[in-house]
Amino acid sequence: MSKPNTPSKDMTWENFPRDRFAEECFRALSSIKLNCEYLRHLPESGRDQAQNAEALEDIAVSSARLERSLREMMAMLACLQGDFSPAWEQVELCGLLRSLCAGQAQILEGLGVRLELDCGGVEDFYVQADRECLLQICLHLLSNALRACAQGGHVSISLSVTPEESCTLCFADDGCGIQQSPDNYSRFLGGSGAGLTLCREYCRLMGWQLELDSPSSGGTRASVQILSQAELRRNNPEVALCEPDSPWERMRQESQLRYRLALELHCIPGLETVEFK
């Protein structure tokens, strides 16, 4: 296992997507600025209230895009500067995945894409992970799967647990696949393009494996091999778990997850204004 503080070969200053980050940030800022000007400078008399609401909505959407871009940029910089180490804790994975899929109905309505979860009959399953890294990985892979799908598409999240208590987390879709194509180009416009790089780096830092492939039937399958607790201790004896969660901390984490999920989904065209409860 490579040293935690040495970034992988994909995570380099040369590969830092500076232009895409800048474009995302400036595009969002411009939208915020111009909508504020619109609301401020033209007289309100005679203006349809719906247009005011539209302008405010566009400000909110742009703010979400800006926040997402800045979070990703900071995450990449932390990895590049080599001072990021996982904060290990027990994470209940099935509960996290159920929370990710809580917006199934809104996603179906907004995108026409069916999202399903299959934990293989397991009610709860604990893994050792950096919660933030695990959450980022899940959000990126879910977001990519939803973007790849056309109307009527299907995304499935599955968890399969081995007898040795390692597991494989899989995000599969029947969308446009990972090969460069006009369809692929138009579905992945916007965004900084840093998602997969960050996913790979987080997996590397935690000793996990991330694999992407396009099955012959079409679509994409992203699989994350998560170490069992025994394997983790064997590979990384100095890992120290964080203090157990207090109920307050648990509530805080759930609230954060809901916020981050909404932030990620609001950056997907078609879901910008959906209220996820």
């Binding site: 232009d19 800048a22 474009e23 400036f26 595009r27 411009s30 939208s31 111009l34 909508n35 000007e37 619109y38 400078h41 033209l42 203006r47 247009q51 539209e54 302008a55 566009d58 959407v61 006009p182 180009y185 138009s186 416009l189 916007g190 065209p269 910008e272």
Partner: protein, 255 residues
Amino acid sequence: MASYDLRGLRVYRSYLTELGGFALGKSYRMGRELLQDLEAGLCCDILLMDEKLADMHAFEFLRRLHQCRLPRLPQVVMLSGWESSRARPFSLAADPLHPAGNYCIMDSYSLSDMAQSLSVLYDLDLEQLTRRCRSLCEEWAGQFSETDCAYLVESVQIAFQCRRKMAIRKEILLPVSKRHKVTISAVDSGIRRLIEASEKEGRPSWQAFKQSFRFKTQRPSTGELIYSVKALLQNNTPSLEEGALRRDEQTEHTF
């Protein structure tokens, strides 16, 4: 208007609609659809365009636009973003994207500036053309009459407005003569004076121009000069059509 992100265009649309004075058409995500509609007869003066469309970059759109057989090319206004603010330098001579200035980049700093710029843009065509034609006259003829130069500028502008070859006297020189309240012959003579002055000067730039448009030792006629200047500003290579022009013009003169 065109952008991969129609939501981003919404504020421009709302502002220009409320401001008044602009007739706004449909917003497009796909460059392909917009090109199809333009070829099918969609008329517009200005295309307000994001750098990115859902199926192509705006520069790719511009290339394809110039391959279309349109009676009149709309002015393309590209909203600047991160890429165009560090845009690759264009060489007027080498880059097929840069015909007689029918695209420009606009900074998206403020809605009021944008609206004002669009209003000014309607008049900017003539100013650019005047500058370029004047520069050519200076290069070729040295000394010339401002009026004669204006005749040439306005004739070339009319020629730009129509893709097909126009009847020189009836469709090009006549509108110019009406504007200046002179006869068609006066306009014709003014442009001929420019040709004669250039011949007299015999500068290398004039010789090179004649050679590239296959005039060799002959001096171009009025119509030939108008269309050659148009082609030069569009950065097209001369073609057999120039010969055809000469035959058409002879017919016109006979009439």
